[in-house]
């Protein structure tokens, strides 16, 4: 028993969808929210998003979760957005209460669900170290003892008495992380802190977490950065729809997760034409991302070509309609926009009926990471947008480490939004060294 750090038994958490998704800040909003709910399309369930109007209902963010974590274990949690990872961390950090079940925690917990919680822009770096330290649960004496260490870790010595609102975002993050990094909890709970900051900041975070793990502390770690999960954690738990799908060695869990096709949002359907995006000329039926062999997916191997498909109904004949997509990185950076130039309907008015357009994206083109496709149908002359669904699908491109992708044998960060497999040519001339110029 005494080697258990966390034991979770039948833990469940229920949310009211109306409560979780819109905030009824005022009574007027409440009324307006009710009207909006009639018009709004709502997300339900897994990889498929079925859009239809539905009354406010409850959903289980976590269901009947049971697992144990031993002292000194580093455990990663993976799963798509809304799988319940953050809810679980929030319950274990005592921020929100479970609906049923129980969790027992043995040891001092520090949770880092965000970097720099409680930082106040008007206060100086020095003042924020004390404030943030207290918020994270450090004693004043402890902060005093570690103060110099924190400052030098953050590399902000010169600006320590400057209000942090004048810090660059990099300095701000470093300082915030430095405070958190000097907590000495027995159990550390970390959610997606790696999602912010530049590469060197992320590296610093990862190194620190490596050290924390090696010191024999228990670490719970949520990240969409799957390579970080496999390199940091011995064990990983894959959650989907609030339930444990796989719990095992991190390599195994992550690869099962990757092969599941549940990672993001591979398709959306609008069974009810009345609420489907569009106008009286054209309305969308469904959008999906699929592999060349026709399987709907939201996880793509970097080498694999993919196809994005849009199904729509033309309700009123006689219009020139151009399907188009915009592909963005998950931070909103637009990678490209593409309009249908190939169909027989180019510059031709379409009759009423049901159409499918597919755009093919080659393999070895996008870099790894999360991408979003927004899809729409436009008329170019005169310009008119009939509908624009963004995000239509969201997917993750996974770089294989097999050595035959553009990455080669490199391990670690590789920048860029595209990662094409370019042709390199080489010549070798033995013995012809360039002579030194004197």
């Amino acid at each position: 028993m005494n080697d258990i750090a966390i034991s979770v038994e039948n833990l469940a958490k229920q949310y009211k969808i109306g409560l979780a998704n819109n905030r009824h800040d005022t009574l007027r909003d409440y009324v307006a929210g009710g009207l909006k709910a009639l018009l709004r399309r709502k997300s339900v369930g897994s990889g498929t998003r079925v859009n239809r109007s539905a009354p406010s209902e409850t959903f289980w963010a976590l269901q009947d979760l049971t697992f144990k974590i031993k002292k000194g274990e580093t455990v990663g949690f993976v799963g798509r957005n809304g799988a319940g990872k953050s809810t679980l961390l929030k319950i274990l950090s005592r921020i929100t209460e479970p609906t049923s079940g129980a969790a027992k925690i043995h040891g001092r917990v520090a949770s880092l669900l965000e970097v720099g919680t409680g930082f106040h822009g008007e206060l100086s770096g020095r003042e924020n170290i004390y404030l943030n330290g207290a918020i994270l649960g450090m004693q004043k004496r402890e902060i005093e003892r570690k103060f110099d260490e924190i400052v030098s870790f953050a590399e902000v010595e010169k600006f320590i008495d400057t209000p942090v609102k004048r810090y660059s975002s990099g300095m701000y993050l470093r300082l915030a992380f430095a405070v958190a990094a000097h907590l000495e909890p027995e159990i550390l709970i970390v959610d997606e802190v790696l999602a912010v900051g530049d590469a060197s900041f992320q590296k610093k975070c990862l190194n620190k977490m490596h050290t924390v793990g090696k010191e024999g502390r228990t670490v719970l770690f949520v990240s969409h950065n799957l390579s970080a999960v496999t390199s940091l954690c011995q064990r990983a738990i894959w959650l989907n729809q609030g339930q444990v799908i796989t719990d095992g060695p991190s390599q195994q869990t992550v690869s099962e997760y990757l092969n599941s096709g549940l990672l993001m949002m591979g398709q959306q359907e609008w069974p009810d034409v009345a609420v489907a995006p569009g106008n009286d000329i054209v309305r969308v039926r469904s959008v999906r991302l699929r592999t060349e062999d026709g399987r709907t997916t939201d996880v793509v191997d970097i080498r694999e070509p993919i196809a994005f498909e849009i199904e729509f109904d033309v309700l009123k004949p006689g219009h020139v309609l151009v399907p188009s997509i915009g592909l963005e990185k998950d931070d909103g950076f637009c990678v490209f926009v593409s309009h249908d130039r190939d169909s027989e309907w180019r510059r031709c008015a379409r009759p009423a009926g049901y159409f499918t357009s597919t755009v093919h994206i080659p393999g070895n083109f996008l870099s790894e990471g999360r991408f979003v496709i927004g899809a729409g149908i436009i008329t170019e002359l005169p310009f008119k947008v009939h509908f624009d669904v963004n995000p239509a699908v969201a997917f993750q491109v996974i770089d294989s480490f097999d050595g035959d992708a553009a990455r080669g044998d490199l391990v670690g960060q590789m920048p860029g939004v595209v990662r094409p497999l370019l042709k390199w040519s080489n010549r070798f001339m033995p013995g012809q060294l360039q002579s030194t110029v004197h």
Binding site: N2, A20, R94, I95, I105, R108, E186
Partner: protein, 285 residues
């Protein structure tokens, strides 16, 4: 929400925390506030640090605000409206009331805003949520202390010696703080769900001020309504202040005792209500 149980054996020096749905209405875990007292201190400290940052005269505002209000009251109520002031100079008559009133009103509004105003903490970090209204209610104490020094200066200027009642002053301050906390707890919890509360607080404070003897003496209130009037705890506090410092007629302590009892009941109910509501703060705020 969760209880800290210190384990009895020293094999596990660390505390064990049991997380489960709160089962009992009166499971208040007030000891947790003691464990987190340093955070309470830092939140009050932050409030004080930040309040007058990037202002020209900084903490000067602490002095200017009550003095300006006093000047306005003296001109409007004392001179134009000729409101009696129990034989005292009107400036000190009103200032002695503004002192506890400002403490109460800023405690109340800060307390009521405390949870929503710290939403970023509530959704990311665990600590006993009661710390938030507590820190909101306590931080105006610093302003009060400074404004009090001004009052002493004014008493010397007007040649007024306080009565032995001054020993009762901490009790009146405590009553003002408890009243602000009792009402503030309800408002803070309601504010999380209904932001209407945010817009109600200023009105509430305004109405409450006119229902308290800040600008006028209690003697102006018709005799037959006076018992009802005196149930307002702030009426007792303000009267108490004037009695203790300026040697006014002593307030009716039995009525103050009744209103103090009501405040304590409201406070106790407020704590229970707040604890009940705090379970969903992180999800709703």
């Amino acid at each position: 929400m969760a209880k800290i149980q210190s384990s009895s054996l020293n094999i596990f020096p660390e505390p064990t925390v049991l997380i489960q749905p709160r089962k009992h209405l009166f499971d208040l875990d007030l000891a947790g506030i003691w464990v987190y007292r340093e955070l309470l201190y830092f939140l009050v400290w932050r409030d004080l640090k930040v309040r007058y940052k990037q202002t020209l005269i900084g903490a000067g505002w602490v002095v200017i605000q009550p003095l300006m209000t006093m000047a306005i009251f003296t001109v409007i109520f004392g001179n134009f409206a000729q409101i009696p002031s129990d034989g005292l100079p009107y400036p000190i008559f009103s200032y002695a009331a503004l002192l506890p009133w400002n403490l109460f009103s800023s405690s109340l509004s800060r307390g009521g805003e405390s949870v929503v105003g710290n939403a970023n903490l509530v959704t990311k970090i665990y600590f006993p949520r009661l710390i938030l209204p507590l820190s909101g209610v306590l931080s105006p104490m610093a302003d009060f202390a400074i404004a009090f020094v001004i009052l002493i200066g004014m008493m010397i200027w007007f040649g007024i010696t306080p009565t032995v009642g001054i020993l009762m002053l901490p009790i009146f301050v405590l009553l003002a703080i408890c009243t602000a906390l009792a009402v503030g707890l309800w408002l803070a919890a309601l504010n999380v769900r209904y932001r209407d509360v945010r817009y109600t607080i200023p009105f509430l404070i305004q109405i409450w001020m006119f229902a308290s003897p800040v600008a006028y003496p209690v003697s102006m209130v018709p005799e037959k309504w006076r018992w009802l009037y005196s149930l307002n705890p702030m009426a007792g506090v303000i009267e108490g202040f004037r009695w203790a410092l300026l040697g006014n007629q002593s307030p009716d302590f039995s009525v103050i005792a009744i209103s103090a009892t009501m405040v304590m009941a409201l406070l106790a109910a407020g704590i229970v209500y707040f604890k009940q509501m705090e379970r969903t703060f992180a999800d709703e705020v």
